[in-house]
Amino acid sequence: MNVLQTLPEFCAGGTDLSERRRSGISRGQIVDLIPTDTMTGIAWGPDGAARIGALVTIETLASDPRVRNAYPGFAAAAASLATPQIRSVGTLGGNLAQRSRCGYFRNPHLACLKKGDRICPARAGNHLYGVAFDLGPCVAPHPSTLAAALLAYDATVTTNERSGLTIGDLLGDGSDGAVDNTLKPGEHIIHVDIRAPRDGERAGYHRVISRTYAEWPLVEAIVRVVFAGQRFEFALHNRSCNSLPATPAFIPEKRARIVAERFLIPPFGGSNPPAQAARRVSWCSTTRCAPATTPCASN
């Protein structure tokens, strides 16, 4: 049984990796990433779409005025996670590629699916923070807050070997409990593309934690609403209920409405749903997008 990881690993900010080095579960070679301009910067296309490098720090995503204007839900998600120290060195790519936070995976003396064993010991053992019981073999939720946010923004990921990956392509559907993502040995994220915000787009992010700051969420949700087409998109990443996928996923609209009404915005309905929703979305301190140019008129 291989309790320790011996494959080479890339080091971006190193906030996850250094802890696994210290505990001893990561024993392979460390490969530095060469910081190219594409990987360290944010490039804006003529239509207002962003190409964000994998080595851009979470602090930059949270504070960059143009990111905050264009993708307020994404920026709010970035601002809410971890602590100022972690945000200042942690990166976009590292957040997406971080390993499971399950205590069994992190303990160097215990075997688990993600360390080569055939069963998930948390399933029958201590799973206080396990939520994904029905839809995959590993019960731990994927820890990436930015993945949930990028899912809501229909972002695509480019690696050194593949391009155009959706968040679902990158993280998988949770059916393989041995992995946290689909990156192969030697593959790393180069950049993430987020399409230009649409006219009339708004977004909100909400994270429920029992401390004021700095805690893994009990539940977190991001909602992105485009009023022009009356389109309602909702991504949920949940740590408190059963029957959820291990990776962030859109939830069915009916259920999304229930969750949105309970956690984000009071009930939709009435004679003018967009106006009502606009008022209610603003109730959860969401921000209207400010597209750099006039984006596609309808969808």
């Binding site: 069994y104 029992s210 401390r211």
Partner: protein, 126 residues
Amino acid sequence: LRLLSVGRLAAPQLARSQAEGSIVQGIGYALYEGRQIDQASGQVLTTGLEDYRIPGIADTPDMDIHFDESGFEHVPGGAVGLGEVATVPVAAAIANAVHNATGSRIYEIPMRPDRLLAMLSMRIAS
């Protein structure tokens, strides 16, 4: 507001600082700190401050501390230690606040959100 009866204060500033620290520690004890173990192996699963949670500075309240210096005249020096004395009642005070807010009493610490929800749903069911 905290009233502590600990006898004569040898160092009032240190005593106040000690009481403030005790309250913060008591909040951790009441709301966050809980060691999780794997029942099969006995291995500890909460091996860092990321999993073994304690209050952050934003989780601490404004504190108004008063000392009653009488009551320990029979003790040499007229004073006793105050660290643990100040820590222990915090959980009871927070549990009382939960009762005041919800009408239900919680008897387990840490008073985690899942335990509060379980307590409230039991009350709704009964």
